[in-house]
């Protein structure tokens, strides 16, 4: 029985290995989204999850629907680009940002900050709160970009389910927040909407890290847990893009499981916090 399942499985996987590059090429040509250098293991899992949701069993059938039904593509985009996250997720990161990055920003006349791959906005608003509490938000222009327009719209709306507030509040406190987290939102039915003061200095725009180029120079760039979905080759491209988007002495923030270690641009940065993946551009 084991050898039967093995032969069948190997055939299915061989066929899938043919179908996958065809699918990614098709999506690129049809819609301009380039997933060809996405990390294969996580991409395959997400494609499978999306296929299950569509009740399709082969990649070829999925390709058929994706090519002919843009709404299906929109659903796939959400599956591939949106991680469920939380405000002040990784509280230690925000603590390190407060303690080790914020002091150096006080002297700047104005501040430009880019959150790349912002999706539903939790990280952008968390950072806005940190900047507000440091008295920096007034002079800051935040750019929140993502390649998923629906995610951007959601982020811009600044609406979150009220049941998440307990987790967000706990995170906020662990991240060094001293105010009442509820000061930052107003509640309505089972949702909350963040206060205008937090939303005012944020520009939301479409930008695709895999295909687009640099569009400005920033004092702070956050790109956290976005590049884990890319191959090393694409990561190098994106790191080059982020490096090129940073002013000298600018700060780059990555996700907890990420690192500059082993990448060519690493030589251009010094670690501000190795544990929390904060780096300063030195050359």
């Amino acid at each position: 029985m084991t050898s039967d399942c093995r032969a069948e499985l190997e055939l299915a996987e061989r066929i899938e290995a043919i179908e996958l590059p065809l699918l990614l090429e098709a999506l690129h040509q049809r819609y301009g989204y380039d997933f060809r250098d996405y990390a294969p293991a996580s991409l395959l899992r997400r494609l499978r999850l999306a296929m299950q949701a569509e009740q399709l069993t082969t990649v070829s059938a999925f390709q058929d629907r994706l090519l002919h039904d843009p709404a299906c593509m929109a659903r796939l985009l959400d599956t591939v680009s949106v991680d469920v996250t939380a405000m002040f997720r990784d509280p230690a990161f925000y603590l390190a940002f407060r303690d080790q990055v914020v002091p150096g920003l006080q002297a700047l006349p104005h501040l430009k900050v880019w959150v790349a791959g912002c999706a539903s906005g939790e990280e952008v608003y968390s950072l806005a709160i940190v900047l507000f509490e440091a008295g920096l938000l007034e002079k800051t222009q935040l750019y929140a970009t993502d390649f998923n327009a629906r995610g951007l719209a959601q982020g811009q709306a600044a609406i979150f389910p009220i049941r998440k507030m307990r987790e967000y509040t706990a995170n906020y406190v662990k991240a060094g927040g001293q105010a009442a987290f509820s000061d930052y939102y107003t509640a309505k039915h089972d949702a909350v909407i963040l206060r205008d003061g937090l939303r005012r200095n944020i520009v939301w725009a479409e930008h695709n890290l895999a295909t687009d180029s640099s569009f400005n120079e920033f004092h702070v760039v956050l790109c956290r847990n976005v590049m884990i979905y890319f191959t090393r080759k694409l990561q190098e491209r994106v790191l080059g893009l982020l490096y090129g988007s940073l002013a000298m002495q600018g700060v780059l923030g990555l996700g907890h499981g990420e690192s500059l270690h082993g990448y060519p641009v690493a030589d251009c940065f010094a670690a501000i916090s190795r544990a929390e993946k904060l780096y300063r551009k030195l050359r």
Binding site: M1, T2, C5, R6, L9, E10, E13, A39, P40, A41, S42, R45, R46, L49, D83, V84, T85, N225, M227, I228, Y229, R232, Q235, H256, G257, E258, S259, H261
Partner: protein
């Protein structure tokens, strides 16, 4: 060498079980070892240090795209899924699987695809059934399936579920797992 990677999954009771296994691995142990220990998102470095105390090999928390390397016990970081690709690890923030992130099944299934018959999978103590499907996938791809005996497991649910999901997996008392892996590494 017959085998190229050992993947180990543990939940409740895993800390102690892993210490026993790792303490049996000599400094020259030749197989790369990857471990998913169910851990809370807030868990910090302590797990790594506790395991390091018992282990002659270096115990290291994995960073995204880190190479799969012998001579190191590579540990899934908290609150990420650990996946295997070709010759390196990849992290993911996909939703928790049965409340677990890292999930054992994801490590095992992705490792099975890449390593096939060169893979050894080990399911240890734990509640729930994470790892059962993954171990079945490892077997299905021609790899070797090891399960900690429910007699020694602090929590028997995971080993029991793994046994039910597989066919002819090798059941070992905790103290025999380390030496067994050493034997496999010499094949």
């Amino acid at each position: 060498m017959k085998y190229a990677l050992v993947v180990i999954g543990a939940s409740l009771g895993g800390l102690q079980a892993l210490r026993v296994i790792l303490s049996a691995l000599p400094a020259g142990f030749r197989l790369p070892v990857a471990v998913v220990q169910h851990r809370s998102p807030a868990a910090g470095a302590p797990l790594q240090f506790v395991l390091q105390e018992a282990c002659a090999l270096k115990v290291q928390e994995i960073e995204d795209k880190q190479a799969i390397a012998p001579g190191v016990v590579q540990l899934a970081p908290p609150d990420y899924h650990l996946l295997v690709e070709d010759d390196h690890f990849a992290l993911s923030l996909e939703a928790p699987v049965r409340y677990a992130r890292p999930a054992i099944d994801l490590l095992f299934e992705t490792a099975a695809r890449c390593f096939g018959p060169q893979l050894v999978g080990v399911v240890l103590t734990g509640t729930g059934d994470d790892g059962a499907q993954g171990l079945a996938a490892i077997q299905c791809h021609g790899g070797l399936a090891l399960i900690e005996s429910p007699q020694t497991a602090q929590a028997a649910a995971m080993p029991t579920a793994a046994t039910a999901a597989t066919s002819g997996a090798i059941e070992l008392e905790l103290a025999r797992i380390g030496p067994y892996l050493v034997d496999l590494s010499l094949q």
